[in-house]
């Protein structure tokens, strides 16, 4: 475990967030052996997650949000860039012991609760195995008690432990997914679209449970979703992704009540609230891009109603506007013109 970067030696300094990524990048090669096509799934992605914080990562399918989760879970290795966990670079994790430790700190809950469990084993199997692997100091009785505790923490009866996955509903299975993650005493749970496959009437319960985990168990959550409304419901902070780039981030209410990036504005306008009278509809056809061998420039420019010449030449960097970070030339210029005051930069009607 030799420190490879200056930050790693800083260890867990007081101001170091739980997770910090620096220019995190993941590219996938496409086609055959000699193909030069490269899919840019995630480019230069900077993300921080504090302790006991719920961060929502929002974007369309193909925007790279699941890739970010998999990078953080070490299921992928980054093409470029660093992930620091408590100030320690993940590149320094090499031994099996280190990996086991990290996976215990940062488990992932997957999207599809219907295929995530082995049908031959009882529900207790996954939880008990996690406990045996990650917390070997517990005795058999303690493991059993802990399994029952995490079951109750996610709002299920301990009797569920002796069931098989096919005997459970989708909502119950997704809760078990969280119980398995909780069993390892995590600091951060990566939840990749945990409610998108659940029925509407069940979603609310799982979302409430997630918020409760932060309050009671003190974990942080990275909540990956395409649903802005549910992101608003649970998250402290929202990060919006488009085509592998972070386009906007900030406190949830700031981003949603006063979106600065045109893409965030488009996303918001597409969400209908049944309890409100319908708002104006945009004419965007909503074709998400496929980022193969991209050229320099803003990736949203072809759909952007405010695009200027500069957007096709220079990739916008994240810049602070008010409380938010925004990667947009137009919004940045207007933000400066307004003297970084609270006037709305990009007017969108």
């Amino acid at each position: 475990m030799s420190p490879e970067t200056p930050a790693a030696s800083a260890a867990t300094a007081g101001d170091e967030p739980l997770v910090r990524t620096v220019e995190l990048t993941k590219h996938f090669g496409l086609g055959g052996l000699f193909s030069r096509q490269v899919l840019h799934a995630v480019d230069d992605f900077d993300l921080t997650i504090a302790e006991r914080e719920i961060v929502a990562l929002v974007g369309e399918s193909g925007s790279g949000k699941s890739t970010v989760a998999r990078l953080l879970a070490r299921l992928y290795t980054p093409t470029k860039g660093e992930i620091f966990y408590r100030g320690r670079s993940l590149r320094s994790l090499r031994s099996r012991k280190d990996m086991l430790w990290y996976r215990g700190e940062v488990p992932i809950v997957l999207q599809d609760p219907f295929s995530a469990f082995h049908p031959v084993f009882r529900i207790s199997h996954g939880i008990m195995r996690n406990l045996a692997l990650h917390r070997p100091d517990l005795s058999r009785e303690e493991r059993r008690a802990e399994a029952e505790r995490v079951c109750e923490a996610v709002g299920l009866s301990p009797r569920m432990l002796s069931r098989f996955s096919y005997e459970m509903s989708g909502g119950e299975r997704q809760r078990i997914g969280f119980a398995q993650a909780l069993a390892v005493k995590p600091k951060l749970i990566l939840a990749d679209e945990p409610v998108s496959m659940l029925d509407v009437s069940i979603r609310a319960g799982v979302l409430n449970m997630m918020a409760g985990l932060r309050d009671r168990e003190g974990v942080s959550l990275l909540y990956i979703t395409h649903d802005l409304a549910s992101a608003r419901y649970v998250a402290d902070r929202i990060v919006v992704m488009y085509a592998g780039h972070q386009v906007e981030s900030g406190p949830t209410e700031t981003v949603l009540s006063d979106p600065k990036h045109p893409y965030t504005q488009l996303l918001l306008s597409a969400v209908a609230d049944p309890r409100e009278k319908s708002s104006e509809l945009s004419a965007d056809t909503g074709e998400p891009p496929r980022v193969v061998n991209p050229s320099e420039g803003c990736r949203f420019r072809s759909r952007c109603p405010f695009a200027i010449e500069k957007c096709g030449q220079v990739t916008p960097r994240l810049e602070p506007i008010g409380e938010a970070l925004v990667a947009c030339h137009v919004a940045a210029a207007q933000g400066k013109a307004a003297g970084s005051s609270d006037t709305a930069p990009v007017t969108h009607t």
Binding site: D199, V200, L228, A229, L266, L268, V271, D273
Partner: protein, 336 residues
């Protein structure tokens, strides 16, 4: 009052399984008027897709239509032969499937698939086919150069649009859609729904539309039917149902998804899970999950009652209203 375009009466569908018959639909009755946009919402497994398949006469085993009528244009479609149905399909009504993007033949160009449909219904002139195909593609907002494209060359949203174009080829009066946008992203979904609604109003066809997404229904449909466990729980004009939901299940649904604006409220959701239709609960099928459950609910099966312009299947409204639909075979459902 003019005759409705589609009149579904006491439709019942069973799935015949080894473990016994599962009553997927029980006595479903509703109408769709000319030029009406009807949205059906419900959770997975409530029978909403089965309902569309039964209406379109596309049920395949183990699904079996065991009772009821589907009167379309004054003609009962149940029992029509394959040849008779083929004549009606695409011309009088068409259907857009859930994963419509995968319903296109990957080996044929868009133009060839349109040509097949038109030729099957008697259009043989090359020019006419070309012209009509171009027209419908333009209707849904696809550049006609894509007539020569194969499905894999189009994005998901475009394939979905191409399917809708195909459904409009012969200007049917009813288009049946099974979650046409559920595989799309929010922005694409909104744009496609807006297109469908605009075409529907301009061309004047009726839409029977299934979804699990309340926000889609609220924005685009004239009337909403909420289904629960193979029955209609509530049916009302869109505004009425969103302003004054009557059925406890509908109310639960309204409180089950977070809002994008306004104050953040605690969501309750609905406890429990949808019932197994092989063993539906006795009495009212929602009573095990119902927050307003009464002593009588497990014993008496509620009818659809008319109340303030809505039809609602809940015993809370039994006293003050008349049953909306006369049941023909009440005894049939009492069997265990």
């Amino acid at each position: 009052m003019t005759e409705p375009l589609l009149d579904v009466r006491n439709l019942s569908v069973d799935y015949l399984t080894e473990a016994g018959d599962v009553h997927v639909l029980s006595d479903v009755s509703f109408t769709v008027a000319q030029r009406e946009f009807v949205g059906i919402v419900g959770e997975s497994g409530c029978g909403k897709s089965t309902l569309l398949f039964a209406v379109a006469q596309l049920l395949t085993p183990p699904g079996e239509l065991v009772g009821g009528e589907v009167v379309f244009h004054g003609r009962d479609m149940v029992g029509l032969t394959g040849a008779e149905l083929r004549h009606l399909r695409w011309r009088d009504y068409s259907m857009v499937m859930q994963s419509a993007m995968n319903a296109l033949n990957p080996m044929k160009s868009i133009a060839a698939q349109f040509k097949d449909t038109l030729e099957a219904h008697g259009t043989s002139s090359h020019d006419e086919i070309r012209q009509r195909s171009t027209e419908v593609l333009e209707l849904v907002g696809i550049d006609p150069v894509h007539l020569g494209s194969y499905p894999h060359q189009l994005s998901g949203g475009m394939r979905q649009r191409a399917m809708i174009a195909m459904a409009l080829l012969l200007t049917p009066q009813l288009v049946i859609m099974d979650e046409p946008t559920s595989a799309l992203d929010v922005v694409a979904q909104q744009s496609l729904m807006t297109k469908i609604r605009e075409l529907q109003q301009r061309l004047g066809f009726a839409v029977l539309f299934v979804t699990h997404d309340m926000s889609v229904v609220s924005r685009y449909s004239d009337r909403v039917m909420v289904m629960y466990a193979g029955q209609i729980a509530e049916s009302a004009p869109t505004e009425t149902i969103f302003e004054r939901p009557l059925h406890p299940y509908t109310r639960g649904l309204m409180n089950a998804f977070p809002s994008i604006s306004g104050p953040r409220r605690e969501m309750a959701g609905i406890p429990g899970a949808p019932p197994d239709l092989a063993r539906p609960p006795s009495g009212c099928r929602f009573h095990p999950r119902c927050p307003a459950v009464m002593d009588i609910c497990p014993e008496q099966e509620p009818d659809l009652y008319v109340r303030d312009g809505a039809e609602v299947r809940c015993l809370l409204y039994a006293d003050s209203a008349q049953p909306a639909v006369e049941r023909e075979t009440p005894a049939q459902e009492a069997r265990p």
